[in-house]
Amino acid sequence: MNCRDVFREISNYVDGDLDAELKRAIEAHACGCHHCEVVVDTTRKTIELYCDGRLFAIPLHVRQRLHATLRQKCQGKLS
C-alpha cells in the first residue's frame, strides 16, 4: 500500500465502502503518513461543509416569491 493506492480508494474509504482488509491496509498506511492522513481528514471535512444546511439559506425574496406563487396557483386549483 502506497500513497497512490490510498488516493485511489479514498472516496470509497470515507463512504465505508471497502472490504475490511483494504480498510485496515489504508489505516495502517495513513497512520504513518502525514500526507495521506491530511487528505483523508480534509476530504471528510469537504463533504461535511457541503452537507451543512446551516451554511446555506434560500434568499428571503426568493422564498417570498415561491410562497406567493404557490399560494396563488395551488389554492386556485383547490377552490
Binding site: 497512490r4 488516493f7 485511489r8 479514498i10 472516496s11 470509497n12 470515507v14 463512504d15 465502502d17 502525514h34 500526507h35 491530511v38 487528505v39 481528514d41 480534509t42 476530504t43 471535512k45 469537504t46 463533504i47 461543509l49 457541503y50 452537507c51 451543512d52 444546511g53 446551516r54 451554511l55 446555506f56 439559506a57 434560500i58 426568493v62 422564498r63 416569491r65 415561491l66 410562497h67 406563487t69 404557490l70 399560494r71 396557483k73 395551488c74 389554492q75 386549483k77 383547490l78
Partner: protein
Amino acid sequence: MLDAQNSWNVERWTRDPGFAAIVMSEVSPRAAEQSESALVTAAKAGNYDAFEQLVNRYEHKIYRLGLNITGNPEDAEDVLQEAFLKAFENLPRFREDSRFYTWIVRIAVNQALMKLRKRRTDRSVSLDDPIEEDGEVIPRDFADWKPNPEQLLGRTETREVLEKAIQDLPPSFRTVFTLRDVEGLSTEETAEMLGLTISAVKARLFRARLRLREELSKVFKRG
C-alpha cells in the same frame, strides 16, 4: 432550544420556519418521517397548509440543488417553483412508495437538468459523457486545515467559497456530488435518478470530491 449557544441559529430559527423544519428533520429523522407521511396524506386530501409545511421543510434543499446543478440563481428559482408546482399537481398520483423528499428531489433534478441543457449546448452538459481522462487525480495540497474553517471565515464567506468551488466543476461531476453528498442520496438512488451506472457515479464522485478538496484547501489551510 436546540442551538441556544448559537445566537445566529436562534435568530434564524425564530424568523424562518423553513430553517426550523430543516433542523428538526436533522434532529429526529424518524419523527420527521412520520410527520411527513401525515402531511402528505393531509395535502392529498386538499389541505394546502399541509402542503405548505412540506414546502417549508424542503425549499432550502431544493433551491440549493437547483443552484448547484444549474449554476444560475434565476434558473434555481425557476427549478424551485416548477418542482413544487409539479409536486402539487401530481400529488394525487404520488404512491408513497418512497419518501416525499426523494420524490421532490427527483422532480427538481429533472427540472434542473432541463434548464442546464437548454442554457448550454456544449457537450459538457451531458451526464452520459465518459469521464475526461486527464490523468490520475492526485492530491497536491497536503496542508492541514484551520480548525472550524466556517467559524474563522464567517458563514457568508464560507458559502461563497463553497459555491465558487462547486460551480467550477463540470456539470456531470457537480450533479453527482450534489445528489450524493449534499442531498444524501445513496449511490444506487443517484445512479437510477441520473441514468448512470454505479461505477460511473462512484468515479464522478471521487473526482468531484478530490477537486473540491483541492480548491477548499487553498482557502482553509493553516498558515
